[in-house]
């Protein structure tokens, strides 16, 4: 049995009096498209930030691709792709320059060719010379998507990757993610769009107020003839009432 792509044990993040993530333990196998689901403010983004070494956990441990996140956050970020919650490419670089910049930091030799492929694939080649600050949110999201996958990482942690895309682009991206996972890679996706999760995720966890309420697989739900959104709403409602 191979080591999991992501393993978290008792992961906790506390901000003052707010427990954003509370002793979360989970494991994501390699080759999975895992969805972390939860309403706004449930701690999904905080989880991704902790798993990518962007913020330090208050408690617990996590390993990503076998690397201890707290011991080697830069090592983790070298090997994974990340799409943050807010699309924040540098304001005064053009889209093409930003991908060049990412390529230079990540030491990608054929960055020009790869960037050209992404501009074509996500259909924004006409915007490649426009400054990031002047791009629409959707185009900025395309750019962030490209930077996360341009170094062909074996694991990508992506926070609400479809939220600013139009239906056509959503379709393109969902197909890409599915093919990416079929090629043996892993995706850890955070979203509150349950249709997306139900459509493309294999495993999922439901997070509410920083606590994991449930972990399971979409196929198990289908076997039980249950829909993810009904299941999710019932679970969150029960937790709210508890």
């Amino acid at each position: 049995m191979t080591a999991p792509a992501i393993s978290a044990a008792g992961l906790t993040k506390v901000y003052g009096y707010l427990v954003a993530v509370n002793h979360v333990t989970l494991s994501v196998e390699k080759g999975a498209l895992f969805g972390l689901l939860g309403p706004n403010g449930s701690g999904k983004s905080t989880m991704i930030k902790m798993l990518t070494g962007q913020i330090r956990p208050t408690g617990g441990t996590a390993t990503v691709l076998g690397l201890d996140v707290q011991q080697d956050p830069i090592g983790v970020r070298e090997r994974v792709g990340i799409i943050p919650e807010q699309e924040t490419p540098p304001s005064f670089l053009s889209a093409a320059e930003y991908l060049q910049f990412v390529g230079a930091i990540r030491k990608i030799p054929d960055i020009k060719e790869r960037a050209a492929w992404w501009f074509d694939f996500l259909d924004f080649a006409d915007k490649k010379d426009v400054l990031c600050k002047d791009l629409s949110r959707g185009t900025r999201q395309k750019l962030m998507f490209a930077q996360a996958f341009i170094h062909k990482p074996e694991l990508a942690l992506i926070d609400e990757p479809l939220i600013n895309f139009d239906p056509i682009m959503q379709h393109v991206v969902k197909d890409y993610l599915t093919a990416y996972v079929k090629a043996g890679n892993t995706i850890f996706l955070s979203t509150h769009i349950l249709e997306v999760a139900e459509e493309i995720c294999s495993g999922f966890a439901i997070l509410h107020k920083g606590n994991i309420l449930h972990t399971g697989t979409v196929s198990d739900l289908k076997t039980e003839h249950r829909h993810l959104d009904d299941f999710f709403l019932a679970l969150v409602q029960r937790d709210r009432n508890a």
Binding site: Q54, I74, E97
Partner: protein, 468 residues
């Protein structure tokens, strides 16, 4: 429409209190008050070396410069806020969504800044001086007059920046022409009267000789600048379709001797495209320093011949160290959070970019030495300036990491900075005045600079960075 004005004041307070904490920020005017109160007791001592009038010149110059800097920040505020807080937006930039004209909002913005910074900077200083005045034999009217003239100095700086930037947005050659005319007028005034033209700065004239004419002149100068600024004001229109050639790749190649060429290239592109290279150099560096030169040159009679140049080099060094804020104000660590870049790497890269920018103060001080006929002391002046700049940089990195423009208002940070810088400045001033070439020894400051920077690397690497 007072609602907008009140909302802007609240917004300004919340911006600062969010960044520094309510209590910490509220303590800032108390710190200014305390410095003014305690400093007032040193006045009798200072008077033995310098007439009180000359001290007031330096004070007015400082408030004029504060006006310049606040005005410059106001113009760049939206971009800075967005980088600092993500999707932040200020009321000043909300005209598109409110049924208000941009000119009306701009006018409210200027009035809000005046009141806000009066309460923050001018009032505490005047109050400290006022409360100390009975103990040091100063008439009570003097602090009251000072509070008026310092406010007018601040406003002059603020409106001058708005005026110059409004002209700049309309026509760059017109701005150049105006600056040449101002320089020419100053020179002509100096030739005709045999006096430093800084003496004709209206708020200073008002402080030196109170008269209703001088008061009207001071107010009129500000009002004219303000009205022309509003008249010339053009709302920013961004051309979303504007295309830019790739500068990053060739620039990074040219900077290959840097530790991380793409980061350094990005810093320089940020500055160039944001207008910071010209704007910051002009409004936050060149203009304030020219003003300071004028004021310092008033001390010619009280200092050795090389004294003004070396004192200017010291002040330039301190101001040059603020160039670190130029290269950190447009991004937060959050922009790098999805890349394998550590805080240490990022700060080191900023130091490299900062080192390139130090060409500006070096050339500036060298020009001052040449133009003032003190070419003999050019090398000590440049060494003094750069040593102080790098020393201040080391302290800034240690105290504020990648957020110097945010943490400067933190009372503890500010007090530590002032003490660490102040001690060195006093010692260096004394050494330089006693033996100008001994100022070359200032190069030793590079050691504590490196020490503080290393402390900073460890400190900020261990901390969670803002912007996530």
């Amino acid at each position: 429409m007072p609602e907008l004005f009140i909302a802007m004041v609240k917004e300004e307070w919340r911006v600062h209190s969010t960044m520094f904490g309510s209590i910490s920020f509220a303590l800032f005017p108390i710190l200014i008050f305390w410095i003014a109160f305690m400093g007032s007791f040193l006045l009798p001592l200072m008077r033995q070396a310098l007439p009180a009038g000359e001290l007031s010149l330096v004070l007015h110059a400082n408030y004029l410069m504060l006006g310049f800097m606040v005005g410059a920040f106001g113009l760049l505020g939206a971009e800075v806020m967005n980088r600092r807080f993500g999707q932040a937006s200020l009321l000043t930039y909300s005209a598109r969504s409110l049924p208000l004209s941009e000119r009306f909002i701009f006018a409210n913005f200027v009035i809000k800044d005046t009141l806000y910074y009066f309460v923050l900077w001018v009032f505490p200083l005047a109050l400290g001086f006022l409360l100390a005045s009975p103990f040091i034999g100063v008439p009570v009217t003097l602090p009251l007059l000072l509070s008026l003239t310092l406010t007018l100095s601040f406003l002059s700086g603020l409106c001058a920046v708005f005026f110059l930037s409004s002209v700049y947005s309309r026509s760059k050659p017109a701005l150049a022409a105006i600056l040449v005319v101002i320089a020419g007028a100053g020179g002509a005034l100096a030739l005709l009267t045999g006096q430093n033209p800084a003496r004709y700065f209206p708020p200073l004239m008002l402080f030196t000789t109170f008269s209703w004419e001088n008061l009207v002149l001071s107010c009129l100068a500000i009002a004219v600048l303000f009205c022309i600024s509003i008249w010339l004001f053009t709302p920013e229109t961004s051309d979303a379709t504007k295309h830019y050639p790739d500068m990053l790749t060739p620039l990074a190649r040219k900077l290959s001797f840097f530790p991380t060429p793409p980061l350094a290239a990005k810093d320089l592109i940020d500055m160039y495209r944001s207008g910071g290279m010209v704007g910051q150099t002009l409004f936050s560096f060149a203009i304030p320093l020219v003003v300071i030169w004028f004021f310092l040159s008033l001390l010619n009679g009280y200092l050795p011949s090389y004294g003004v140049l070396l004192e200017f080099a010291i002040v330039t060094g301190v101001i040059a160290s603020t160039m670190y804020t130029w290269i950190t104000m447009f991004d937060t660590y959050g922009a790098y959070a999805c890349l394998p870049v550590s805080v240490r790497t990022l700060i080191k890269s900023k130091i490299a970019s900062f080192s390139v920018l130090q060409l500006i103060p070096a050339v500036f001080v060298a020009l001052a030495a040449l133009l003032s006929g003190q070419v003999l002391y050019l090398v000590p002046a440049v060494v003094l300036c750069l040593s102080i700049s790098f020393y201040s940089l080391g302290i800034t990195i240690w105290l504020t990491g990648l957020s110097p423009s945010v943490l400067v208002y933190n009372v503890k940070v500010m007090a530590t900075y002032l003490v660490l810088i102040g001690i060195v400045l006093i010692i260096l001033s004394a050494v330089a005045f006693a033996a100008p070439f001994a100022a070359l020894a200032a190069v030793i400051l590079l050691l504590p600079a490196a020490f503080f920077a290393r402390l900073g690397f460890a400190k900020w690497e261990a901390r969670e960075q803002p912007g996530f």
